[in-house]
Symmetry: C2
Subunit: 203 residues, 2 copies
């Protein structure tokens, strides 16, 4: 791994462990096994380190969203499964999402982060409606602007309550509720089957 990536991983583990305010540059340098001077060369401030983690998390999570699926609604479910999986295994993803919910110094960056996600997910909802998989009087924008926060809350409360041990069944139940509301009845059994398959839950 190149040094910049090693530093980002170390910073992610520290941010995840103690939060932004309590993280120190010295602890990140120690964790990464680099000097504070080397760290400073890549990331001159703690804020730039946090924004680096958020950006890298963005890259990794956007990568799991496929727009080329034959079933856009299935692509939505699979994307959430991909991100849920990364939340369990990739500290850059879990720390990036944690940081994206802090306010204050991150204000602009985190608002842009959610706008971008909601835009991308709304696009998938638009495709799913156009393909006839979903039928609802909510607009694609309303769907995106609601399901992204729902997922955010479900994974966060799962982290608080069970250290994310119930993350997969919790996200699966969220989808069962969402798809029951918006799936075109003819497509509902297949899409609920996708949820069960993706999250390994009984349908």
């Amino acid at each position: 791994m190149e040094r910049r990536a090693v530093i980002l991983e170390a910073a992610a583990r520290e941010f995840e462990r103690v939060g932004f305010a309590a993280t120190t540059i010295a602890a990140v340098a120690r964790e990464a096994g680099v000097s504070q001077g080397a760290l400073h060369f890549h990331f001159p401030t703690k804020l730039s380190l946090a924004l680096g983690v958020i950006d890298e998390q963005n890259v990794r999570t956007f990568d799991v969203v496929s727009h080329h699926d034959a079933s856009p609604a299935e692509a939505l479910v699979r994307a959430s499964r991909g991100i849920a999986g990364m939340l369990l295994t990739d500290p850059v993803v879990s720390a990036g999402i944690r940081l994206s919910l802090e306010r204050g110094e991150f204000g602009a960056a985190t608002a842009a982060f959610y706008d971008q996600w909601i835009g991308g997910i709304s696009d998938l909802f638009r495709l799913a409606i156009a393909s006839g998989e979903l039928r609802t009087d909510l607009t694609p924008e309303q769907l995106g602007a609601t399901v992204v926060p729902m997922f955010t809350g479900v994974q966060l409360v799962s982290a608080v309550r069970t250290g994310r041990q119930d993350l997969f069944p919790a996200v699966a139940t969220m989808w069962r509720m969402v798809l029951t509301a918006v799936a075109e009845p003819r497509h509902r059994p297949r899409l609920l089957g996708v949820v069960a398959d993706a999250f390994g839950t009984a349908d």
Copy 2:
């Protein structure tokens, strides 16, 4: 206001403004207009101050949940409207909920907080199913354990994106989706009307 309450309000404003880690006892004492000695008498540590805010938030938000409504599903919607209103106006509530999502030192307290909420909301869902207002193959426990995190995420992302300016329409859209999924068809129009009325949105 008695001194203990004045201190809790001041602490809530500081926690809300800068988060737990960056809050100092000195700043809270200054904000409350009391000496650090007086503050120490009521709250010997910063952690006890944070737990005090979480407890007080708990008391205030549980107060809006009525179990004696003729329509338990309406009680659910009205409770969320009550809490959303307090998030906009009461720093103890917004700070308490913010603190309840921090981890580490709060771990046990915040997990218990969500368990308690999910238990209470699940009870209302159970009543709403028994009364025939809702019909779903999800259990009351699944409904509570999903809708509480959904609300948590919706209010949090609203805070990050718009400083909670879109909080009411965002929670209303969440309910439209949830009720479309779980309302008994005969009760659906009335319950969607309750959402529109509670949040001042067009149905």
